[in-house]
């Protein structure tokens, strides 16, 4: 089939906590993007919704898809392809989206495209900035991932570095819980840090001068040990000092990666990309070193289905559709196994 700027892709995402659906035209024109946590589920669908269970995805999937189609102002017959996250993620959660996506594609008689969730995060910046200068270094930093990726063009990337223990977002969440300053942890630390002195405690910056991998487990333990011994230090000062240490490491390593590969752009992605200090420091340091710095909006940084639809559009154009025998791949890696494209097999 012919893929162009009028090709409409329905994107479906259910790999982790979010149930999401979106309609994207031509790879980067977002007609609608619905994420379950952003709508009032209790009011809309009633009942208590568990946060993580695949049962939640099952209950939310159809309403979220319907909402996305309705908000886009199109009829379902206008959908030209269905893109769905096939991994990585929990098998039970993934299967809800994969089954729904394949059923929709089969029912509408349109191609199905299996999408790698991590790969899709790399397209999030392109959604808001289609003319992003390549090559780019993407820092993908969330509760479950801390990755540095070299992206030479849409669909072409390699892994430069990753965390060897905790993801940065996990450290934020656990420190917020430990300091008892609120939930979710990322925004709570960010807010508390505004009121604190980032220079009050010198927490360790693990592996700062060493390669492109990250380690945040030692920092977490160090904060816990410090607070135990110094219970009177204000939690705002701890939060500010902790955040400063995390952001320092993230910015230094991203800059190092960008310089090493000769990148033109630095791109932030993932939930932690919403952190105000990370955004301002990356902008300041990155621009200062001559890089174009792309800071996607929070809605595009966190898990969403618009990026799935976008990645699906590029994959369909460059590699063709996936078979309807495509299954969920819980341990899909960014650069390892890819989703099988059966170009020409199905019309």
């Amino acid at each position: 089939m012919h893929i162009d700027n009028s090709t409409v892709v329905l994107g479906i995402e259910s790999s982790c906590d979010e149930t999401a659906a979106a309609i994207v035209m031509g790879g980067n024109d977002v007609l609608s993007s619905v994420v379950s946590s952003q709508i009032d589920i209790h009011a809309k669908f009633g009942g208590v919704v568990p946060e993580v269970a695949s049962r939640a995805h099952l209950e939310l999937m159809q309403p979220v898809i319907n909402e996305a189609i309705q908000l886009a102002g199109i009829g379902s017959e206008r959908i030209n392809a269905v893109a769905t996250t096939v991994g990585p993620g929990l098998i039970g959660a993934l299967l809800v989206g994969v089954s729904a996506g394949k059923a929709m594609a089969y029912g509408l008689g349109v191609p199905f495209i299996g999408v790698n969730h991590l790969e899709a995060h790399l397209y999030a910046a392109l959604l808001e900035e289609p003319q992003l200068p390549f090559p780019a270094v993407v820092l993908l930093v969330s509760g479950g991932n801390t990755l540095l990726i070299h992206m030479t063009a849409p669909g072409e990337y390699s892994l430069l570095g990753a965390t060897i223990d905790d993801a940065a977002g996990e450290a934020f969440d656990k420190i917020a819980r430990f300091l008892d300053i609120g939930y979710p942890g990322g925004p709570a630390v960010d807010a508390a840090a505004q009121l604190g002195n980032p220079q009050s405690v010198e927490f360790p910056r693990a592996m700062l001068h060493d390669g492109l991998d990250f380690s945040f487990s030692g920092l977490k333990t160090s904060v816990i040990n410090y607070v135990r011994k110094n219970p009177d230090v204000a939690s705002q000062d701890i939060a500010a000092s902790f955040q400063h240490a995390v952001v320092d490491v993230l910015v230094v390593k991203t800059l190092r990666a960008a310089q090493q590969v000769g990148a033109k752009s630095i791109v932030l992605g993932g939930g932690v990309a919403a952190n105000s200090l990370l955004r301002s420091e990356m902008q300041r340091v990155g621009s200062g070193a001559g890089f174009h710095v792309a800071l996607p909006s929070k809605a595009m940084c966190t898990d969403n289905a618009a990026m799935i639809a976008s990645a699906g559009w590029y994959r369909l154009r460059d590699h063709g559709p996936s078979g309807l025998d495509t299954g969920a791949i819980p341990h899909l890696s960014l650069t390892g196994s890819t989703v099988r494209g059966n170009r020409g097999e199905r019309k």
């Binding site: 982790c16 568990p50 946060e51 993580v52 269970a53 695949s54 049962r55 990585p88 993620g89 929990l90 098998i91 039970g92 969330s142 509760g143 479950g144 990753a162 965390t163 060897i164 223990d165 905790d166 993801a167 977002g169 996990e170 969440d173 656990k174 819980r177 430990f178 487990s217 977490k220 333990t221 904060v223 816990i224 040990n225 135990r228 819980p330 341990h331």
Partner: protein
């Protein structure tokens, strides 16, 4: 049984001793407060089972799966879960029934929920680097191996103490 680990390296070594007594289909609960070193224990067990590459915290992704020499290892984390139904959704029992090894951080949610298992509880000490480690077995599955594991860890602890004296 109670053990003392003088350093993170000692913690990993104790985990490796435990790993050498694991059988296909075993479940190991890793308990202890935040920052105590549950992931470090998991890293030690995984390395001893032949997992290469980094073993990272599964807190947000809930389950990570690795290939060991002889077994598939599932590394789960119940920290974010709120009720027992959500634990069932992770299908950990199915993993152990198919002969995989299952490690569960924050898995001390009740012996009736997890079934037969080994529990390793790690606790912070006065000194930053050292840890108290308490190991107990739940269920008949461990009956025959338990005395062997106790003997092996005691032997390890004695060697570790000798080493520290030098």
């Amino acid at each position: 049984m109670n053990l003392f680990a003088s350093s993170p390296i000692a913690t990993r070594e104790i985990a490796a001793v435990v790993a050498s007594y694991l059988r296909l289909g075993d479940t190991v609960v890793l308990a202890g407060e935040m920052g105590a070193g549950k992931t470090l224990l998991a890293q030690g067990i995984c390395a001893a089972l032949g997992v290469t590459g980094p073993v990272t915290s599964p807190t947000f992704n809930l389950v990570h799966t690795y290939a060991g020499n002889d077994a598939t290892v599932h590394h789960a984390d119940l920290y974010r879960l709120k009720n027992r139904d959500e634990i069932a959704d992770l299908a950990l029992e199915e993993f152990s029934q198919q002969g995989d090894i299952v490690l569960i951080e924050w898995g001390d949610v009740g012996d009736d929920v997890i079934g037969e298992h080994l529990e390793i509880r790690i606790g912070l000490c006065e000194q930053d680097e050292s840890r108290d480690i308490e190991i107990r077995a739940v269920g008949k599955r461990w009956e025959l191996r338990w005395p062997l594991l106790v003997a092996a860890t005691k032997l390890y602890a004695r060697n570790d103490a000798d080493w520290d004296d030098q």
